[in-house]
């Protein structure tokens, strides 16, 4: 499983976004994972909390949005694909060699946490 590696890369990208936006911490983040990305959403959500410890993402809620594969059928136009059937139009079986969507692995958005004032 490489979801721990993916989680670490996600934390790097998210930390950079936080710095650019002047946020100290994130409270939540949303990731888009394509059905053809080879990443298992459950494994990513399971790996994330441990990987985030000691980083600005510690404690942040991770939501994973699964993006289905969409191909372009010459007859039926954009069609939603079934990963178990491969790149074939579900209606007519024509090859749909190019994925219009479904291979993404991207950080979609981050919710910045408000800084907490510490009791002194």
């Amino acid at each position: 499983m490489h979801e721990a590696s993916i989680a670490l890369s996600l934390i790097d990208v998210a930390s950079e976004v936080l710095r650019e936006n002047g946020g100290a911490r994130a409270s939540a983040l949303t990731v888009r994972v394509g059905a053809w990305s080879s990443v298992v959403p459950e494994a990513l959500t399971a790996a994330f909390p441990a990987c985030a410890q000691g980083t600005p993402l510690e404690g942040a809620r991770l939501s994973v949005v699964l993006v289905p594969g969409v191909g372009e059928c010459p007859t039926h136009g954009p069609v939603t694909l079934d990963v178990r059937r491969g790149l074939r139009c579900p209606a007519c079986g024509a090859p749909t060699p190019t994925l219009l969507q479904g291979d993404e692995l991207e950080l979609d958005e981050i919710e910045l946490a408000e800084p907490e004032l510490e009791d002194s």
Binding site: N21, S27, W36, G86, L105, E106, L107, E109
Partner: protein
Amino acid sequence: MTTTQAPRIVTVRQNILKANDHTAAGNRAAFRAAGVRAINLASSPGAGKTALLERTLRDLAGSVRMGVAVGDLATENDAARLRQWGSQAEQIVTGTVCHLDADMVQNILPRFDLDALDVLFLENVGNLVCPSSYDLGEAARAVLISTTEGEDKPLKYPTMFNTADVVVITKMDIADAVGFDRDLCRENIDRARPGVPVIELSSRSGAGLDEWFAFVRGESV
């Protein structure tokens, strides 16, 4: 006391592996500048990657200048096996990581004299899931499947097959003995990656190797 404000949501839409892709682009530029064809080899464990590499290093020694960077979880057996054919083979110890990434390749490149090579094989860790996400900077990606694996592998590992430039079916010499359904396997490969070239070969008998060697040299398959 804290003041409560509406949370700020930042839309990012960035590839999580952009750092890897950036390093891979650097590797690709280095290969191109030196005229090296880098080939990323991926397969399940036991699909015959090392056997095919050994045969390739043996048969093409003298006509193609080859090197190998081989990713392995711990031991150095594969690199030692490969060196006996006279080509440089370097181990990339990946530790607990189950795939090569572009940084690992970048870090091992100084051990090679790229100007003295025509082809550099990047033998990935035996795994059809994780390596598919990581561009190494290769010119071409070859995915191997052996006749002893299930014919449905291409549909179980869609990303790996969908990113292949060529699919190699290995161990064809025992296809009949293991009841390999060639037509079904080829149909599933074509479903996973419509139109991808498929090479059937046996590293033991030598059948089909000419097609593979043409791919290695960068000639059309």
